[in-house]
Structure formats: C-alpha cells, structure tokens
C-alpha cells in the first residue's frame, strides 16, 4: 500500500500515471475540504474511492475537473497542469465526469443527449454545420444498446426513471470517449441486477481507460475488484485491496463502524 502515498516529484511524467495529485488542499472559509491529498491513478487503472460523507470525495472530483481551484497542491493529467484550465478545456483533454446526482438535459431526447456528448468539434459554427453521419449514429446506437436505453431513444430525458438517468449519464460519459472517467456514485437507485451490470461495464471500460469510481456501496466496490482508496476529512486514510481496507482498524473506526 506504500505506492501512491509519497510519490516522487515528476511522477506525472511517468507514462504509466494518468492522474497525479500531490499535496492538494482546498479551503473554504477556513474549512479544509481537502487536506494535503495525494493520489496517483495509472493508465488503464480502475480505482474505487470510498469514505464517509464530507470526506472530500466530490471536492476531489471538482478539483480535477476544474470546478474548484485548489488552495495549494499539484493536479496533473498527463503533462497538463489542471489547476490553470477551465472545465471545458479539461473535458476536451479527455476527462469525463458523471455527477452524483445524474445531470443531463431534460428538454432533449435520450438520443440528443448522447449526440451532444459525442466527441466532435465543439465550437458554435461546427455545431451549426454538424450533420449526423452514419458512423456517429452507429456509435450512439451502440452506446444506447450498452446502457439499455435503445427503446427510449426518442423519449425526453425528463421522463426517465432515476436508474435510467444514471444509465444515460454513463452513456454520455462513454460518448465523450475520455481517457479518464470520474464516476460519482453510479449505482445509487439501481436494482441489484443493474448494479452488477454497471460493475461489469466499468471493469470492461478500465484497461482501455482509467476509471475512478466514488461509491458508498461496498458490495459494488468489491465487485469492481480494484484497488480502493479511503478518504477521511480531506486526506487519504488507507489504500489497498478491499479486504485490506476493510480490516484496517483506522477505516473500521471512522467509516465502517464495526
């Protein structure tokens, strides 16, 4: 579990690491939402992040995606310093995010939501001239099939159930074709079967891309079979396999409460 704790400086340039956080702190009005957090995610790695409410999981995602500027610390994606870039630029570098509360465009259909997420030139003129190619349509249809929304293609997102909204947002993430996926509580509101399906999907995606999953559902985290990072009060508390962290006395004390 020592890897990732005190990474040597310059590790971001290591081809194997995609995401590199070092000594990141975020202070809101004196409250330290993140406190000297360091984390390395390798290429193709699947990483689960757990922790009690208020541990800083969502703030960490905000820092990586440019929504929140860290008070101090280094945040790198490959060779890019993310602390200087805005959300759109970061997204275009290849970082996709699924929000804790599924967020999409309710006035648009399932198909249109996926079409907007599809990786393509993003400028206003390019969007005006955009014509849906057969290739793009097939990609959208493939993702709809993957997330089980083919039958809802022409329905507006507003009328989807909570679980279907989760799927749609995962689908949007896939359309962006990102190198790094940040997935915040993907299985909230899903049935057991859907949860299993999601775990299998994320495991399949990892390998080709890096995936960071924040989740409370420990059964789901176990199904991912990945390395687990436990956050607490804005810092890393423990890291290792699910069995390792579940038996770590510090984790049991603050989180699992057994």
């Amino acid at each position: 579990m020592s890897d990732g704790l005190s990474p040597p400086l310059g590790a971001a340039r290591d081809a194997a690491s995609v995401l590199y956080l070092d000594g990141v702190s975020v202070v809101f009005d004196g409250f330290r939402a993140l406190n000297n957090l360091s984390l390395i995610v390798g290429a193709g790695e699947l990483r689960a992040i757990i922790g009690p409410n208020g541990a800083g999981k969502t703030t960490m995602m905000d820092v990586i995606t440019g929504k929140t500027r860290p008070t101090e610390g280094v945040v790198r994606f490959r060779d890019h310093d993310l602390t200087r870039l805005d959300e759109a630029t970061i997204a275009n570098l290849g970082i996709g995010r699924k929000f804790q509360k599924p967020t999409m465009f309710d006035a648009l259909t399932v198909f249109e939501n996926l079409e907007l997420a599809l990786k393509a030139p993003r400028g206003p003129v390019a969007c005006l001239r955009w014509a849906l190619s057969g290739e793009a349509r097939r990609r959208i249809e493939a993702v709809m099939e993957e997330v089980g929304l083919t039958a809802r293609s022409r329905d507006r997102a507003a009328i989807l159930s909570h679980g279907q909204r989760q799927w749609l947002e995962i689908g949007m993430l896939l359309m962006q074709d990102p190198e790094l996926l940040l997935v915040d509580e993907p299985v909230a509101g899903m049935t057991d079967q859907e949860t299993e399906h999601t775990a299998a999907l994320l495991v399949r995606i990892a390998g080709r891309r890096s995936v960071v999953v924040v989740e409370h559902d420990l059964e789901f985290v176990r199904a991912l079979g990945s390395k687990v990072t436990v956050l607490c009060e804005g810092s890393m508390l423990s890291e290792g396999s699910i069995d390792h962290v579940q038996n770590d006395p510090r984790v049991i004390e603050v989180y699992l409460g057994r």
Binding site: E87, A88, N92, T103, F105, A107, E115, L116, P124, R156
Partner: protein
C-alpha cells in the same frame, strides 16, 4: 428556465399545418401593399395606415425573433434589445440625414439642421461614410453586433447569468438613452432625426417607398425566420437549449459555453439592428426615447405572450400584442401600461407556454 417550458418541436402533421399557416400569413401580408393600390372605393382597398402599421409590426416581429433566439433557446434574457434595435435605426437615420443635403431648413450643403443650429462647423468624424447606403447598412449591423460582443463577452466570461445579466442590459440601454439625449453627442439630442426626404433614390412617404420598405421588411422577416430555424434545428440549437437548462453541465462536456452564448447573442443583436434599420424609414423619426428600458421590456413581453422557445410564438406575440396596443391606445390610451402589465402577469400565471401553448392545447 424550467425545463417544462421547453416545448418539443411539433411533430409530423402538426409541423406541416404550422408551415401552411405561416405561408398563408406571409402571403396575406404580401398582398397588402397591392390592395393599397386599389381605388379607395373598392371593397378590397387597404388604407395607407394599415400598410404602414403592418410594415412597422413586421420589424417588431424580427426584433421578437431575435429576442426569442437568445432567451427562448439559450436562456439569455436581454432586457436591452431595444438598444440594438435603436442603434440600427440611428445608423440608417444618419444616412437619411445625410441624404437631406441642402434641402434642410438652414440649407447647409453638408451639415444636418440640428448641427447648424448647435453651431457645428464641420461634420464629426463618426458621421463620415454615412452618405453611402452600404456603409450605413453595415453599421446598422456592426454597431449593435460590436456592443453585444463587448457586453456579452464581459458578462458571459464572468459567468453572469439570469437576472443579473438582465439588469446589466437594462443599464446598458438606459445609459445609451442618457447619452443620446445629450446634444454634444452629435446625434440630434432630444429630438433625434426626422424630416427624412428619400432613401435609395425613392422619395419617402410615397406609395412606392411604402411598399418597397414593406417588402424589404417582409423579406428580412422570412430570412431571419429561416436562419433562426436553421440554428434551432441544428446541433447548435440543442447545445443552446442545454446551456439554458444546465449551463455548467455543458461545460463538463467540453463545450466553451462563453463562445456559444456570445455567438447567439451577437447574432441576435445584429438581427435587432437590421430590424431597427427598416423601422426608422417607415416611421420617419428616431429619437433617444426608443432606448427607454420600457421598450426593451415590452419586446420581451411580446415573446412571453406568444410563447418563448418556439420562434413562431415570438411572431404571434409581436403581432397580437401590437394589434392590441394599437387598438387600446386609440380607445383608452391611459389603460395601455396597465393592460401590458396585466397581460404579462396573466400569461406568466396561466399560459406559461404562451399563445402557442394555448393553441397546441386546444388543437389536442
């Protein structure tokens, strides 16, 4: 903007019916100047008043389209679009003033009357070029476009949205009104411009000029509608709707929201400027009162009454509210502002999707 207000595009036969209705309305408008030429005792004769008032309403309808594109689709509620409209009007007004030439009251070969009266020795530099129609037309688009680009860039970059942006646009039009009221601005101060003689070789206030301006306005309306529908039916239109409903989410998909908002806001201002440029020769006067914040608010009410986010609703709203205004200000002029306010409250409470929403509900 609540998502429930976004009406899905009318599907299938609904869209066809809509297109036929709109084609009918355009044809009906198109024959008005011809009917005006019929002898006055003919049953089909249309008065000069009807022609000139409809020509004016057409320019209002273009302004309403421009507002709907920005507000109804991208969620940018500008309460200063009257400023873009008026700037376009002033640009063409400057051309019309230059064309008066020595026919002014003071008979000065170059300077407009108000400049002679105020003791100007020569034409201010920013009046140069306005003797050429193409230049004036270009300025009628460029000045509103540039102002929108500057105000929009500063506001959108700083992520000023919603009511805060609306207040800025109100301040913008109010500031312009105060500035144009000043005599030393060189735009005729309080009185603005009037007594126009001709445009493109046509003496104004003749049936020929009236119908030419009418058809030019109608053509611009049709073109603007075609352009706006092209945008709203494209992926850009869907990006705008996405920005309206969840702006920050669009950023996380990699869209530079500032650029998209700026694009639509500037385009909207240019359309408003062109509408103003056609309005001024038809009404024969332009003065700083046109910048008054109330005018911009009134134009937004046309769109709200018609049904925003539909384009057709903007047209319907502009024509119906102005018809009501023309009628009411004749029978009971004091009641108009109360009626306008009441209309806005009533539409907000009972017809959140405007007249278009009512029509589609009744049709079902």
């Amino acid at each position: 903007m609540s998502a429930t207000l976004a009406s899905p595009p009318p599907a299938g036969s609904g869209r066809l019916t809509l297109r036929l209705l709109m084609l009918g309305a355009v044809l009906l408008l198109a024959v008005l100047p011809a009917l005006n030429r019929l002898p006055a005792d003919s049953a089909l004769h249309v008065s000069d008043f009807i022609v000139s008032v409809s020509g004016k309403w057409i320019t209002y309808a273009i302004l309403a389209l421009a507002i709907d594109l920005a507000w109804g689709y991208a969620g940018i509620l500008s309460l200063g679009h009257g400023a873009f409209f008026t700037l376009g009007g002033y640009a063409i007004g400057m051309h019309l003033m230059r064309l008066i030439g020595p026919r002014g009251v003071y008979g000065h070969p170059v300077l407009p009357d108000f400049m002679v009266f105020l003791g100007y020795k020569e034409l201010p530099w920013y009046w140069l070029g306005f003797d050429h129609f193409p230049f004036a037309l270009l300025m009628a688009m460029a000045v509103p476009g540039l102002l929108a680009a500057v105000v929009g860039y500063l506001a959108f970059r700083s992520r000023i949205t919603g009511v805060y942006f609306s207040i800025i646009t109100q301040a913008m039009t109010y500031a312009l009104m105060l500035a144009f009221f000043r005599n030393d601005m060189g735009f005729g101060g309080n009185n603005g411009f009037t007594d126009f003689k001709e445009l493109l070789g046509m003496p104004l206030n003749t049936p020929t000029a009236r119908s030419a301006l009418f058809y030019a306005s109608l053509a611009l309306l049709v073109l603007s509608y075609a352009l706006c529908s092209r945008i709203t039916q494209s992926k850009l239109g869907r990006v705008l709707v996405a920005i309206r409903d969840a702006e920050s989410r669009v950023r996380f998909l990699g869209y530079d929201v500032t650029r998209h908002k700026l694009f639509v806001f500037v385009l909207s201002a240019v359309l408003a400027g062109l509408a103003g440029a056609l309005y001024v020769p038809q009404v024969g006067i332009i003065n700083p009162g046109e910048f008054s914040p109330g005018n911009s608010i009134e134009a937004v009410i046309w769109v709200a009454v018609g049904g925003r986010g539909t384009l057709v609703g903007a047209l319907l709203g502009a024509f119906s509210v102005n018809a009501l205004k023309t009628w009411l200000t004749t029978v009971a002029p004091d009641l108009w502002l109360f009626a306008l306010g009441g209309l806005f409250v009533a539409v907000t409470l009972f017809l959140p999707r405007g007249l278009i929403g009512l029509v589609s509900k009744v049709a079902k």
